[in-house]
Amino acid sequence: MISKSETIPSINTPQASLADLERNLGGLSLQYMRQSLELPLNHEKQTVLARLYSAANTLHQAVRESIVENAIFEICSNLIGCEQVALLVTCKQQDRVAFSGSADFNPQQLEAIRRNAKRILQEAPTDSIYIKSGPEDRSFLSSLGISARIPFWLDKSTKGAIVFFNLLPQRNGLDAGDCELLKLLCAYTGPCLAANKIKHQETSGWVQL
């Protein structure tokens, strides 16, 4: 498990304003691209940096075009290898959870998410990345078929989580490179979703559970 304090020291938590967020993501994307290009292709970090560049660039474009949810699902599918991804956001005033999911869930999984959404968000540790530790993992999250759960924040408070269910068959588990991508999503999902809402007041795709 990765604690919150260990998760994002290398990533500056974005400022609240839209312009700052776009500037921050644009700069980060450029930085990852430069670092990736400096390394030979057979260097173990090269592919990780290339994926980080792609993720930061995709989020940057998504904030501009207000397609943040789709961008997150694309990053999870194409760069991490998980097509069953749920976004859960806490709605404190109504004591409810809002859900938006990628297209690949079956009805049983959707029902499991609906019934357990609050517990998925509240299951400890709530402020750090959970990654399934293997077949021996007997935690509640693992029992639901969850491979990883990453919290996201806005203004220093937890707003929700990205929940990864089954990984694609070619992925045996999440590795150190995937963790770097999860940290990026951890830091930027909250501000990007907030920016999306600022730009477009609609909430299509979200379901109240």
Binding site: P40, N42, S54, E74, S77
Partner: protein
């Protein structure tokens, strides 16, 4: 693959002036493919965002190799592959499918549609360059 091998293959490609058509509706994969191939090879790159555009560009641009996603709007990768194979000029062009699903049924479907090879997502830069060079260096040498 060693750096020396990369440089040698890069030089061969540079001399041959070969062209690759990259097809993907998602920018996440396309960004990595484009950055990797621009920096580590000298092939000319042409981009398309769906199957229909891919068929049109393949006919117009006559690429030496096509790297194509499977799940795309308008026309998927398998359909585009079958469509391309109907054209005499594209019958022997290597088509590499980029798939998120590496299960045997999906791979078989790809080969049945006429593709030559496949790579799975997430894209690994070294593997991508190796497979692309494997086809194009051989092609360049036979010309």
């Amino acid at each position: 693959m060693s750096d020396t091998q990369y440089k040698s293959q890069r030089k061969t490609a540079q001399q041959s002036g070969q062209k690759i058509l990259l097809v993907d509706d998602s920018s996440t994969t396309l960004l990595i493919e484009e950055m990797t191939l621009r920096e580590h090879t000298q092939y000319e790159l042409v981009l398309a965002r769906d199957g229909e555009e891919a068929v049109e560009k393949a006919i117009a641009e006559q690429p030496n190799l096509i790297l194509m996603d499977v799940v795309m709007p308008r026309m998927n990768g398998f359909e585009a592959c079958r469509e391309m194979r109907k054209h005499e000029a594209l019958r022997k062009v290597p088509i590499i499918m980029v798939t998120s699903r590496g299960e045997s049924c999906n791979v078989e479907q790809g080969f049945e549609s006429g593709c030559n090879d496949y790579v799975t997502k997430p894209i690994n830069g070294a593997e991508l360059v190796e497979i692309v060079n494997g086809y194009l260096v051989a092609q360049g040498q036979s010309q």
